[in-house]
Amino acid sequence: MSATVTHHYTTTGLDSRKIAIWAFIGSECMLFISLISTYLIYKGRSVVGPLPHEKWTDPSTGHTFAPILNIPVTSMSTFVLLMSSLFMVLALAAVQNKGRPLPANAGWWTRRLASSQLWLFMTALAGATFLGFQAYEFTSFVHEGLTIRTNLFGSSFFTLTGFHGAHVTAGVLWLLVLLSIDARRGLGPNDALNVDICALYWHFVDVVWIAIFTLVYLIR
C-alpha cells in the first residue's frame, strides 16, 4: 500500500506541488473570468435568435423560437456537481484515515464512509452524469437551431460552458486514474497529497460552475 513518499518542500516549508496547484487554480480563475466577461459583454446583443430567456420570432419565416435555456435540467446537473464535491471530500478523508482502526461497533455506514474507492467512484460518476446533462443540453440546443455560429449568445455560451465541460472531463479522467491506483495497490495516507491536489482541482471546477449557473442561467 505504501509507495516511497517523495517530499517536495520549498523554503516556505510547504510542498511545491500544493503551491503549484494553487497557482494553477489562480491562473484558471483568470481564464474563466475572461470567458465570463466575454459572455456578459455580448449578453443581449444577439441580432438573431434563439435567445436564452426570451422568445424570438424569425422575421423571414415567422417561426417563433422559445427561450432556449432549460432551467430544470441545469438545476439538476448543478445539484449533481455540488454533490460530487461532497463525495470528493469524503474520498480524501477516507484516504487520509486509511489504516486507522474503526470502532468495534462501527456500523455499515461508518464502514462505507471509510471506503476511498466508493467515494472516488461516486465522484467520477457524478462528474460523468454532469457531462451527460451537458451533452443533452448541447444536443437539444443544436436541434432547436442554436449552434456556436448562430449568434453572439451561441458563440459565448458554447465557448464558456464547453471550456468548463472540458475541465470536468479532465477531472473525471484524473479521478479514474486515482480509482485504478486505489483498486490496484490501495491509496493510503502517503498518497493523500496526490488525492488532495485532485480534490482541489475538482472543487475549483465546481465553484466555476456555481458562478456560471447564476450568471448565465438564472440572471436574465
Binding site: 513518499v5 517530499h7 518542500y9 520549498t10 523554503t11 516556505t12 516549508g13 510547504l14 510542498d15 500544493k18 503551491i19 494553487w22 497557482a23 487554480i25 489562480g26 491562473s27 480563475c29 483568470m30 473570468i33 475572461s34 465570463i36 466577461s37 456578459l40 459583454i41 449578453k43 432551467i71 438545476s75 448543478t78 445539484f79 455540488l82 454533490m83 464535491s85 461532497l86 470528493m88 471530500v89 469524503l90 480524501l92 478523508a93 487520509q96 464512509l113 495516507p189 502517503n190 493523500a192 497529497l193 488532495d196 480534490a199 482541489l200 472543487h203 475549483f204 465546481d206 465553484v207 456555481i210 458562478a211 449557473f213 447564476t214 450568471l215 438564472l218 440572471i219 436574465r220
Partner: protein
C-alpha cells in the same frame, strides 16, 4: 485538511511551519452540513427564478449574486479547506481572483453593460 508528511531531512524539518499539523480539521458532519447548506441555497436560487414578481424587482439580481457568492465562498473555505490552510495558498487564489474580478467589472463599465447588475 492539509497533509503534513514528515520531512526528509533536518533542513526540511526546519522549514516546516510549527503548529500546522494542529489546525482544526473539518469533520464528516461538517461536510454533510456544508452540502445541505449548498443545496438549500441552490433551491433558493431556482425558486427565486420562478417568482415573476421577484424577478421584476430590483432585488432579484443582487440577491442571486449574493447567494452565488456565498456558495462560492463556502466551497472554497470548507471543501477546498482554504480556511484551514496556509496563508500563501489564500494569496495565490485570492490575488488572481481579485485582479480578474476587477477586470470583469472594468470591462462591463467600458462596454456600458453594468446595467446587468441593475436588471
Amino acid at each position: 485538511m492539509d497533509i503534513h508528511l514528515a520531512p526528509d531531512s533536518a533542513e526540511a524539518a526546519a522549514h516546516v511551519p510549527h503548529g500546522d499539523a494542529d489546525h482544526a480539521h473539518p469533520t464528516w458532519s461538517t461536510y454533510w452540513k456544508v452540502a445541505l447548506i449548498l443545496t438549500v441555497i441552490t433551491v433558493g436560487e431556482v425558486w427565486a427564478y420562478y417568482l415573476p414578481s421577484f424577478v421584476a424587482s430590483r432585488a432579484f439580481v443582487p440577491t442571486l449574486l449574493v447567494m452565488s457568492a456565498l456558495k462560492f465562498v463556502i466551497v472554497v473555505m470548507f471543501y477546498m479547506h482554504l480556511k484551514y490552510d496556509h496563508k500563501l495558498f489564500r494569496a495565490l487564489f485570492t490575488g488572481p481572483l481579485l485582479i480578474a474580478a476587477t477586470t470583469l467589472i472594468a470591462l462591463l463599465f467600458l462596454f456600458g453593460h453594468l446595467t446587468v447588475l441593475h436588471h
